[in-house]
């Protein structure tokens, strides 16, 4: 894990540079409150990006995260209004996310539909379903216990930030220290080889989408609490944000390589950028230009750094040539 963060040193430098720039140019940026704000604002996108990392590591993609989140949120909203406490609503929101993720997984792993198409279809279906069951209406006003547990503060730390941290830690643990995690990497690295090694490719792949669905469900809990509203049209554009965070963090769209640490950095970079541009009250038109340019530059810088490192490695400068003298001569 930590060597992987070091791998993503280029993005780290970009984050630090942006941080310094914003500290200097906005008097409010360095306030503890603002830094916590940034973390709060990226908590949902980080959690979903974690799920997306699992999917992309298997060389898949999930375009349906936005509608999945909206659908979960709507389910949470509807069940909260049944007055059956807050436990069942929260659980059912997360379960619904898992279920839709499972359906994605079945379409992709079992029925062999390309992930792009399967999740594009799910995107459309889940959005339509969320609108259908609410008749397009937002559901408002939830119990304060729910709002506290989903989006309150614990000793002035926003609870969503804590959730995001926990999700990140669990994901790091799963990917690095469990069999399942290693199989995720293996499948993304070489699906055929993984199959020939006796790995149950279909099941691992399906689980990646289930996990992504679960993160959408968790995201939905936080979102519903933060907005004090469950909207069927929530989460538009989540997929691009999540995928961007994952790839900025150095995970390859071809799968097999990447890390949660990188994803976290990617999400923070995007969040910090948006926050800073708001603080500086940059014209909204220019904001888009700046965001695009900064993301591309950060990745370019990271790429450049790594290619430097790689080319010296390729020449074997930091690797001993086989110690031939030590081997026994043959015949």
């Amino acid at each position: 894990m930590f060597h992987k963060i070091a791998d993503r040193f280029g993005i780290g430098i970009a984050i630090v540079a942006l941080f310094v720039f914003l500290s200097v140019s906005s008097p409010h940026f360095l306030d503890i409150a603002n830094l916590l704000n940034i973390l709060l604002q990226v908590s949902i996108s980080t959690i979903i990006a974690v799920g997306m990392t699992f999917v992309i590591l298997t060389s898949g993609i999930d375009l349906s995260v936005g509608p999945l989140t909206a659908f979960s949120s709507v389910i949470i909203g509807l069940t909260l209004h049944l007055d059956i406490g807050i436990g069942i609503p929260i659980l059912s929101g997360i379960l619904v996310g898992a279920l839709l993720g499972f359906m994605n997984g079945i379409l992709i792993a079992k029925l062999k539909i390309p992930a792009f198409i399967a999740t594009l279809g799910m995107m459309s279906v889940a959005r339509g379903a969320a609108l259908f069951i609410t008749n397009g209406q937002t559901i408002h006003m939830f119990p304060s216990e729910f709002r506290f547990i989903s989006a309150g503060n614990l000793m002035s730390i926003p609870i969503p930030v804590i959730y995001a941290l926990v999700v990140v830690m669990i994901a790091i643990f799963i990917l690095n220290y469990t069999k399942f995690g290693r199989h995720i990497y293996a499948i993304g690295g070489n699906k055929e080889a993984a199959r020939l090694s006796g790995i149950n490719v279909k099941s691992v792949e399906t689980w990646a989408y289930i996990i992504c669905g679960i993160t959408c469900g968790i995201g939905a809990v936080i979102l519903t609490g933060r907005l004090n509203a469950a909207q069927p049209i929530a989460g538009i554009g989540y997929e691009l944000d999540a995928i961007a965070a994952v790839i900025i963090g150095g995970t390859s769209l071809n799968g097999g390589e990447g890390s949660i640490g990188g994803t976290l950095m990617g999400a923070i970079l995007i969040g910090m950028l948006r926050n800073g541009l708001n603080l500086l009250n940059v014209s909204p038109f220019l904001q888009q230009i700046v965001i695009g340019a900064v993301i591309v530059s950060a990745v370019f810088f990271d790429q450049y750094r790594r290619s430097k490192k790689d080319s010296s490695a390729a020449k074997g400068l930091n690797r001993p040539i086989e110690a031939v003298g030590a081997t026994k001569p043959y015949q």
Binding site: A186, A193, L196, L317, P329
Partner: protein, 503 residues
């Protein structure tokens, strides 16, 4: 019970689109024997073992393990039955460590939470490597290993747990003689423990060292099973190809002309250091060396696939700039890479399209591609090189390894390059095809083309080349004119880094 039959395959059939890969095959494997599968490229050897390993499903027939019928639906079942397989095409995960690859699918876990026990896996991997007497870092990433090291990792995978059957599909095609030696030692030891081994190889010379019985296959049929001690290599070849092969000519020297290429002081990190050599017109120049000696890299630099740190290249006395393969091809240099799947072929394209890829203008009418011309050229190449296929449109990913290699050769022959660099051209190629490739190289040389052949097969180098250059640790260690007197024993010390007698 020495003769106990462990595995019996009866009347196995398997078809792929347009080809009957296995045609009523019968095969039996005894306890503690090394059983070789022999046959030309595309004979169906890999297909047969893939049915045992669960990678393919048979169309019909029965598989009996210890007399009991088994249904090997997937790789997992095969392994649970005690069968371990080393595939011809490497099946490693490049981004993962050596230890993780070795234990892939059967990771060692510890409580709580079934955490993968990295240390234990790395330690066991280290032990396996020590047992194999090779030096590979279990923590290193597979993608940073050379082809040979990766092959050794593949072999190590089959030694993780005790198995009754180990299948090895061309394990020695890309490793050094030293590692081959170690592998044979391990095979003998396993055999002593009663493990049955299925062994596939195109290196006929090595068979006598370890093999007990041989089943010969041709065109998806089994021609027969013989005891190694009862047959000669020539008899085996006749069984394989269905005819006797003509003897190989000695390298001819009378058509060698003036110096065509001069390479001066090429360096690239510490992989290639200060390498200089010359190449004459009509000459076959062999490059010998141990795995990782830097031969491939030197060739890639010469071809512009990599940018050299220092050095000059002179063609017919004039200095030329080669910074990219395009420039190299423009100067009439062609390169057949050693890893055909990674660097040589577009697997999703047909044979025809791969063959014309490096010289499309040749099949163009002005601006436009002529499908007619393309098919004609491809058909000519396929016939000239004897590629076993039922259609020139067949996707190359469906060809057997040897036939894939022939397609690449066809591609470069179509370019009219004056200098052709063959990097391990006969890796994984059957005897018949090998002989054809040698003949081809000879013919090309006689036509005035210059050929560089990098090979880890020392007898091959001595047999084919007019001159031999030996590399060691990135440096050129020596050079021999092949006047019929050089021997393996003469070259070997230079390869190993000793001081040689440069003639």
């Amino acid at each position: 019970m020495d003769n106990e039959v462990i595995l019996r395959m009866q009347d196995i059939n398997k078809a792929f689109p347009g080809v009957q890969a296995l045609n009523h095959i019968n095969f039996e494997l005894r306890k503690g024997e090394v059983h070789c599968l022999l046959g030309e490229n595309g004979a169906g050897k890999s297909t047969l073992i893939k049915i045992m390993s669960g990678a393919h499903q048979k169309d019909s027939g029965t598989v009996l393990l210890y007399g009991k019928e088994v249904d090997i639906k997937n790789a997992h079942i095969s392994r649970d039955l005690g069968i371990s397989t080393i595939y011809q095409e490497m099946s490693l995960i490049p981004g993962m460590s050596v230890a993780e690859n070795i234990f892939l699918g059967e990771e060692i876990v510890k409580s709580p939470f079934y955490i993968v026990d990295k240390e234990k896996m790395e330690k066991q991997a280290e032990e396996i490597f020590r047992e194999m007497n090779i030096d590979i870092n279990p923590k290193g990433l597979v993608k940073e290993m050379s082809t040979a090291q990766q092959q050794m990792v593949e072999i190590a995978r089959s030694l993780v747990k005790k198995r009754q059957i180990i299948i090895m599909d061309e394990p020695t095609s890309s490793i050094s003689d030293k590692d081959t030696h170690e592998l044979f030692r391990i095979i003998r030891k396993l055999k002593g423990q009663g493990v049955a081994i299925i062994y596939i190889s195109h290196r006929l010379q090595e068979l006598s060292e370890i093999v007990d019985r041989i089943t010969v296959m041709r065109d998806g049929q089994d021609i027969g099973t013989v005891n190694m001690k009862d047959v000669t290599i020539d008899q085996l070849i006749t069984m394989m190809v269905g005819r006797t092969l003509e003897k190989m000519d000695k390298p001819v020297r009378d058509h060698i002309g003036e110096v065509l290429l001069e390479v001066k002081n090429i360096s690239w990190g510490n992989v290639v250091q200060n390498a200089s050599f010359i190449l004459r017109r009509g000459e076959i120049l062999g490059f010998a060396g141990l795995v990782g000696a830097g031969r491939s890299e030197l060739m890639r630099l010469l071809f512009g696939a990599e940018k050299m740190d220092a050095g000059r290249i002179l063609l017919q006395g004039a200095q030329v700039e080669i910074h990219s393969p395009i420039q190299a091809i423009g100067h009439g240099i062609g390169y057949l890479s050693e890893d055909r799947k990674r660097d040589g072929l577009v697997l999703s394209m047909g044979i025809d399209q791969n063959i014309t890829m490096a010289n499309l203008p040749r099949v163009c009418n002005g601006f436009f591609l002529s499908r007619k011309k393309e098919q004609l050229e491809a058909k000519n190449s396929v016939q000239a090189l004897n590629v076993a296929t039922n259609s020139i449109h067949k996707l190359v990913k469906f060809l057997s390894g040897g036939n894939q290699q022939k397609v690449i050769i066809g591609k470069w022959l179509l370019t009219d390059c004056q200098i052709l660099i063959f990097d391990e051209p006969t890796r994984g190629i059957d005897v018949g095809a090998k002989a054809e490739i040698y003949k081809l190289m000879n013919r090309l040389a006689q036509l005035g083309k210059s050929i560089i052949m990098v090979s880890s097969d020392l007898p091959e180098i001595i047999r084919v080349s007019n001159r031999v250059i030996v590399m060691n640790q990135g440096r050129i260690a020596g050079e021999f004119e092949n006047d019929g007197t050089i021997t393996q024993e003469g070259i070997m010390p230079l390869m190993l880094g000793g001081v040689g007698n440069v003639s």
